[in-house]
């Protein structure tokens, strides 16, 4: 699998601080992305120095399909370039696009072509466009579902047809207007696509497939081997902080509160065997399990909490404690703190 990162692109558009650039890139490399996409003009605006050799292999510069833009990319040191076009209905490749692709080839750049609104076109029309692009020297066709028109099975079907009938490489970038990006990307992967556009936490204007979700889904749901994951939550959150995009504390795979169990039935289950209510252990992604005492707690929760402090709560007191915990939680609209719990316990056993 090859992951084409879109996170930096989103960050640079936000815009992020120039000082954070290297921190983001270093952390993206830890997530084993195979390329990092950036807009060439934005690279220029950020006053980033020309790409060194390593960067030339890692970064792909996005440009509009003109010769002028190819030349700019080349002068900045880009070795991999993406010509990005949005076609109006009925349009196809223009002679400018073809000239741009050819110019890039002549300068020994790896040229890719991204159709921003690919999902508005039929498979046949895509094949036609791709043939023209391939003949003009592009190596990868990047199918961008800019309008979020695909759902998981149509993504599998469409991309499956393309991957099996087209020359060169195909890449798929899913978007998340309906919360389907990760699912669409998985559908494409299962249909044979090996190059997928992703972003950490699926950030972006119309969202992306979330890299951490796809990696873990590959491991646990598709039974495929992936790299180490114990740092994934930390790395993702470092990147998100650097690009100043906040996420929910219950964001799948990396949210801090994912393994905070409160429901009595869930706590009871997790104490017996965490697999009952956890798809994978928190340590696998670098998170920790928490036991929350609140409105939904049961007697097992209370006992477990006190066991952490080497205290056994007398049977008669547990229900009294539970009743007071539930009442307080509703009144203050939040879980019970350790101090509050101790106070309730002390009062209950004292009676």
């Amino acid at each position: 699998m090859r992951w084409a990162d879109q996170t930096l692109l989103v960050g640079m558009d936000t815009p992020m601080e120039r000082a954070k650039f290297h921190e983001v890139v270093d952390n993206l490399k830890k997530l084993q992305v195979t390329s990092i996409d950036v807009k060439v003009r934005v690279w220029d605006q950020y006053n980033l120095s020309p790409l060194n050799e390593e960067q030339g292999q890692l970064f792909r510069g996005i440009i509009k399909g003109t010769v002028e833009e190819v030349k700019l990319a080349h002068s900045l040191g880009f070795k991999r370039v993406i010509v990005r076009e949005t076609f109006e209905q009925g349009d196809g490749l223009t002679k400018h696009n073809i000239a741009a692709l050819r110019t890039g080839n002549k300068r020994k750049l790896e040229m890719d072509f991204l159709l921003e609104n690919a999902s508005q076109y039929s498979v046949e029309k895509i094949k036609k466009i791709w043939r023209g692009v391939f003949l003009a020297g592009a190596e990868t066709f990047i199918y961008n579902d800019g309008d979020s028109l695909l759902h998981p099975l149509s993504a599998a079907r469409v991309l499956g047809q393309l991957v099996s009938s087209m020359p060169g490489r195909i890449e798929f970038i899913a978007h998340n207007a309906y919360g389907l990006a990760t699912a669409n990307a998985l559908g494409a992967i299962q249909a044979g696509v090996r190059r997928i556009g992703t972003a950490v936490a699926g950030v972006g204007c119309q969202g992306h497939a979330a890299l951490e979700e796809i990696l873990m889904a590959q491991k646990h749901l598709l039974g495929q081997k992936i790299g180490e994951t114990q740092e994934i939550a930390t790395i993702c959150k470092t990147i998100l902080a650097a690009i100043k995009v906040p996420i929910s504390s219950t964001k799948a795979i990396i949210g801090d509160e994912l393994f905070a169990h409160e429901s009595g039935i869930h706590v009871d289950g997790v104490l017996k065997n965490p697999q009952l209510y956890e798809p994978f252990p928190p340590e696998e992604v670098g998170l920790t399990r928490k036991l929350v005492i609140g409105k939904h707690s049961g007697t097992a929760s209370i006992q477990a909490k006190f066991r952490q402090w080497n205290v056994v709560v007398p049977e008669l007191a547990v229900n009294k404690i539970l009743e007071r915990v539930r009442r307080l939680a509703v009144v203050q609209k939040s879980p019970i703190t350790d101090q509050q719990l101790w106070a309730i316990y002390t009062a209950a056993v004292g009676e």
Partner: protein
């Protein structure tokens, strides 16, 4: 396609039950009534309101909801335990959901019993609820990791005792869209009851698995507003409703115009920090041309 020709499905919203189980969220009695009323006004026909056995505060909140002039059917969640069912009946519920674990993992490790025992307890609980005149739906917990034949068996037993539909709960969110499509094309023609799909978001697939299962022919789906719920949450009401309309031409009966205010209401009442990435259709926030 005209509206009247669209296929229809039903949403069973569980913001007030599964949603509230989300870490740190507590709804007061008046919060619950407000949310239930807003859901009702938006056209949601089934509202899973809570768990009566959870205690006095919960019972009080539920009684308030039951007293409100809502069109929606208000459901109490129960285990297949006599005390649970009696608490629901005492509370005044006409619609009762009875959930049993159906994966061998849950049956062995959590309740330390057998499949046979589960079926017997389920039957007894249904009979008890029906003896009080309740309408019963049944829930198959951890169905995502269970033997599919046993799921069908549970449905058959439930149907025989008069349950009206069965919830397929993917408790730890481990289905993929492709496996969901395959699984439901297998289950639907063989199931003795209509299926309500209940997906979790551990791998970011709850809304996707939900719409795929509905497209495959399931009639009903659980959602929560903003996808709140255990761990990474549930299928998001907004995402599911919009995807159904726009991508599948399926009518959920929910007013699209209410989705944003429902989300805002729950975010306010839950006290969760307002975070842009909370699960809500992005097309509401970012017009397409702003992104190109």
């Amino acid at each position: 396609m005209f509206m009247k020709d669209r296929r229809k499905v039903k949403i069973v919203d569980t913001t007030l039950r599964d949603g509230e189980q989300s870490p740190g969220i507590v709804f007061s009695a008046s919060d619950k009534v407000m949310i239930a009323s807003a859901l009702d006004k938006a056209g949601v026909e089934w509202i899973e309101a809570g768990v009566p056995i959870m205690g006095k505060e919960e019972e009080e909140a539920l009684k308030h909801i039951l007293a409100a002039p809502l069109k929606a059917k208000i459901i109490a969640w129960n285990r297949a335990v006599t005390a649970d069912v009696l608490a629901s009946v005492r509370c005044g519920f006409s619609y009762v959901h009875i959930s049993v674990p159906i994966s061998d993992l849950h049956i062995k490790e959590k309740i330390k019993k057998t499949r046979k025992w589960v079926l017997e307890e389920l039957e007894q609980a249904i009979l008890l609820a029906k003896s009080f005149g309740c309408t019963v739906s049944v829930g198959a917990e951890d169905a995502g990791r269970a033997d599919r034949e046993f799921f069908l068996q549970v449905a058959e037993v439930a149907a025989k005792r008069g349950a009206i539909h069965i919830r397929f709960a993917d408790t730890v969110g481990c289905l993929t869209p492709v496996s969901t499509a395959e699984l439901f094309s297998f289950l639907l023609p063989r199931c003795s009851l209509p299926i309500e799909v209940h997906m979790h978001n551990d791998f970011g697939l709850a809304s996707a698995n939900t719409v795929v299962a509905l497209a495959a022919g399931a009639n009903m789906a659980s959602t929560t507003i903003a996808g709140i719920g255990e761990r990474a949450g549930n299928a998001g009401l907004g995402e599911v409703v919009m995807a159904l309309y726009d991508l599948y031409g399926i009518d959920s009966g929910v007013d699209v115009g209410s989705l944003e205010s429902l989300s805002k209401l729950v975010m306010e009442l839950s006290g969760l920090p307002k975070v842009p990435q909370i699960r809500f259709p992005m097309l509401y926030k970012n017009p397409r041309n702003a992104c190109i």
